[in-house]
């Protein structure tokens, strides 16, 4: 055991001391936030502007009504034209396309009026143009039906909606739960993927440095593998705790600074309220459990793969692909589970160890025992423990043989043979 500790210590200190650790610790949140805001920003900027010529034969699309629609936003610009020569020379006149609005019956309208262009703009553009023209159209229809402004307001605002209330868990707020579920699931997903491959590369370290045989003549391969996995998981945990501490710091500072500011204090209150609606201690404890459990489960699989390959990183990618696929599969299950947290996919996905760390974390914020019965949680947890003990055992067997093999790349079949021979 003390040797495992020695290996753990070396793995941990050499990794934490590296510049790469500092850089990823700072860069990951920055990049993550940048990604979210950046794509949003780009998305809002990149909308293209379309100039559309409208040849109106119905008489419903007047210049003034088109001008009103054009004022709504600048993404499309309708221009009324009268000359049919537009069909052949719309490009020369600077239009992106044209629409010929035939004479229509106002009571039936018409589907699939053609928007002629010389390139494809996609369904988003299609429905945007349709919506804008429909505003003019329904205005006209309303007028013909004799609906005035007052009635129109009633029509548009009067409706009913449904909100679920689980009688076992009255505080449940499905929106907040879904958000927290998403956040937890994705966090575990990222950590599995990032640190899983770290474990794989870490295990290769002994092989690429050709020191494996020297080390296993002093310690058992299992101790070496365990020390490496634990060491790298502690690095992951350290990094994670740094992030949590930073978030907490930002939150506290925001709370302090915002005490006089109405917007900020409303925000803080909102956060407090949403956390009040979930069982925070339970979520945190479960998160720690599934975080570590899932990590060990997958890390040992990645370690087995890492031990079997040679220096070639391409081999690593092709052999680890099935494992990565499982993690990605879990994320798909999670998105389904959040839509329907009590459905069969959510239940089974949260019980089977391959997907449970991600799927269960997405379900838990919806409430225990409201959405997740206690037996399911208990079964899921014990299966995960059994799962990672088993995967560690299998990995250790593969590792023992793999770490001393040089030269040939083994197939999955061979690795399974190593795992299950006496």
């Amino acid at each position: 055991m003390s040797k495992t500790l020695l290996i753990l210590k070396r793995e941990y200190t050499t990794r934490v001391k590296k510049k790469a650790f500092l850089i990823t610790t700072i860069m990951f949140p920055v990049l993550y936030i940048g990604l979210i805001f950046g794509t949003g920003y780009l998305g809002s900027r990149a909308k293209q502007k379309l100039d559309i010529a409208l040849l109106d034969q119905s008489g419903y699309f007047t210049d003034s009504s088109l001008a009103a629609v054009n004022r709504m936003d600048s993404s499309t610009l309708f221009t009324s034209v009268t000359d049919t020569s537009i069909q052949s020379n719309y490009k020369k006149e600077g239009y992106d396309g044209y629409i010929i609005m035939p004479a229509l019956n106002w009571q039936t309208g018409m589907k699939n009026i053609k928007f002629i262009t010389d390139k494809t703009h996609g369904s988003g553009t299609e429905s945007m143009i349709g919506n804008k023209l429909n505003i003019i159209w329904s205005e006209m229809v309303n007028e013909k039906l004799g609906i005035d402004t007052e009635k129109k307001t009633v029509l548009s605002s009067s409706s009913i909606s449904i909100k679920e209330e689980n009688e076992q868990n009255k505080n449940a707020n499905s929106k907040v739960s879904a958000t927290i579920g998403y956040a937890c699931g994705f966090l575990i997903y990222f950590i599995l993927l990032i640190y899983g491959s770290q474990v794989m590369l870490g295990v290769m370290e002994e092989k690429t440095n050709r020191i494996a045989e020297v080390v296993v003549s002093s310690v058992k391969p299992f101790q070496l593998m365990l020390g490496k996995i634990l060491g790298i998981s502690l690095v992951a945990l350290t990094q994670f705790l740094i992030w949590v501490a930073c978030i907490f710091l930002v939150y506290s500072v925001g709370k302090y600074l915002g005490s006089g500011n109405a917007v900020a204090s409303a925000l803080v209150e909102g956060i407090q309220q949403s956390f009040a609606s979930i069982n925070l201690p339970l979520i945190l404890v479960c998160f720690a459990f599934y975080f570590m459990g899932g990590f060990f489960f997958y890390a040992s699989l990645y370690a087995a793969v890492g031990s079997a390959i040679n220096e070639d990183v391409r081999e690593a990618q092709s052999l680890s692909f099935p494992i990565t696929l499982l993690v990605i599969f879990a994320i798909f299950m999670m998105t389904i589970a959040i839509q329907d947290p009590s459905g069969p996919i959510a239940v089974w996905g949260s019980i089977i160890p391959f997907t449970s760390p991600i799927v269960m974390m997405a379900r838990l914020p919806f409430g225990v025992p409201g959405t997740v019965p206690v037996w399911q949680l208990a079964l899921s947890m014990s299966l995960l423990i059994i799962g990672f003990l088993f995967s560690t055992w299998v990995a250790a067997k593969i590792y023992r043989t793999g770490i001393l093999m040089y030269g040939k790349k083994p197939s999955w079949k061979e690795m399974l043979k190593w795992a299950f021979r006496k």
Partner: protein, 308 residues
């Protein structure tokens, strides 16, 4: 007393009988040579002795007791043929780490490393990284980390590969020193001239089986072919006699093979009678290399895969 006894050790892999019933004894304080062509099973045998592999059957006795890898590895220093170091680690730290894995305390490891580094003129290396070392230098470092914890049994697999003659001699002297101070050295190689120089006792393995076992001097005696070399002033072309056959003849040199029953004095008498003046007369023992080649030759050069 034997520090290591191996009884009928077997290890089969899916396509090879890597070690197929080898027995041997290694006397405490001796320098023992384990020889064999490539793929003979040397490394597999050593891996079992160092606790890296479990044997399929057979027994390993270490220091009079059944070999317990868990505890006994601390008394073994193994330098495998496939060896390396953590490239990115500082040399001093790395040596301490490897010593700690062998059960030494940090402080103990530090003083021992300082001692060895001084002895082998490596003091300036402490804060360098392994990637800055040449192949020969890292070999030296590997030797130090192998013997640092004062192992009773030191196993060296091709220890001189990649070393220049000066450093090879340095290491060779240290091996003698260690043996003199009571450590046992097992020396695995296929370089015969080194074995002839260093080892007292050898075992030759081929295709997973032992084909030769004994003291180096005895083995050479067993394999001698009664060949003698004679140097003389002038040797006549015609030397017909019933005592010996001529293997090779030049103006002043003669290589003869004695016939069954001939004594050396008979030969000398013959030359005196012929009135040929001899300068020297000595026996030619076969080199280990010749014995090795003679025994291994005829078997396939590379081991074939076989069904088991």
């Amino acid at each position: 007393m034997n520090i290591l006894e191996v009884h009928n050790l077997k290890k089969y892999f899916a396509t090879q009988k890597a070690v197929d019933g080898i027995s041997m004894q290694v006397k405490e304080g001796s320098i023992f040579g384990l020889l064999g062509p490539n793929g003979a099973g040397k490394t597999t045998l050593l891996r079992m002795i160092t606790g890296i592999f479990y044997q399929d059957s057979g027994e390993i006795i270490f220091h009079g007791k059944k070999f317990d890898p868990e505890k006994d590895v601390e008394h073994i220093g193994y330098m495998p043929e496939e060896r390396g170091l953590y490239k990115k680690m500082k040399i001093g730290e790395q040596a301490i780490y490897l010593a700690q894995l062998k059960g030494l305390s940090k402080a103990d490891a530090r003083t021992k490393i300082r001692h060895w580094f001084e002895k082998l003129e490596m003091e300036s290396w402490w804060n360098k990284k392994v990637e800055d070392l040449s192949k020969g230098m890292s070999q030296k470092l590997q030797f130090v980390t192998t013997v640092l914890h004062n192992p009773k049994l030191i196993i060296l697999d091709e220890p001189f590969s990649g070393l220049d003659p000066v450093n090879a001699n340095l290491i060779k002297d240290e091996i003698y020193n260690l043996a003199k101070n009571g450590a046992t050295v097992i020396f695995s190689t296929h370089r015969m001239e080194q074995v002839e120089e260093i080892c007292e006792h050898i075992v030759l393995v081929n295709k997973g089986q032992k084909i030769l076992d004994g003291k180096l001097a005895d083995i050479k005696n067993d394999f001698k072919e009664n060949i003698y070399q004679i140097n003389a002033n002038a040797i006549p072309d015609q030397l017909i006699n019933s005592l010996f056959d001529i293997e090779k003849q030049t103006q002043q040199k003669l290589l003869i093979k004695l016939k069954e029953g001939t004594k050396t004095n008979d030969v000398l008498q013959y030359f005196i009678n012929e009135n040929i003046e001899l300068h020297s007369f000595n026996e030619v023992l076969p080199s280990l290399n010749e014995i090795f080649i003679g025994l291994v030759e005829g078997t396939a050069t590379a081991r074939q895969f076989q069904k088991i």
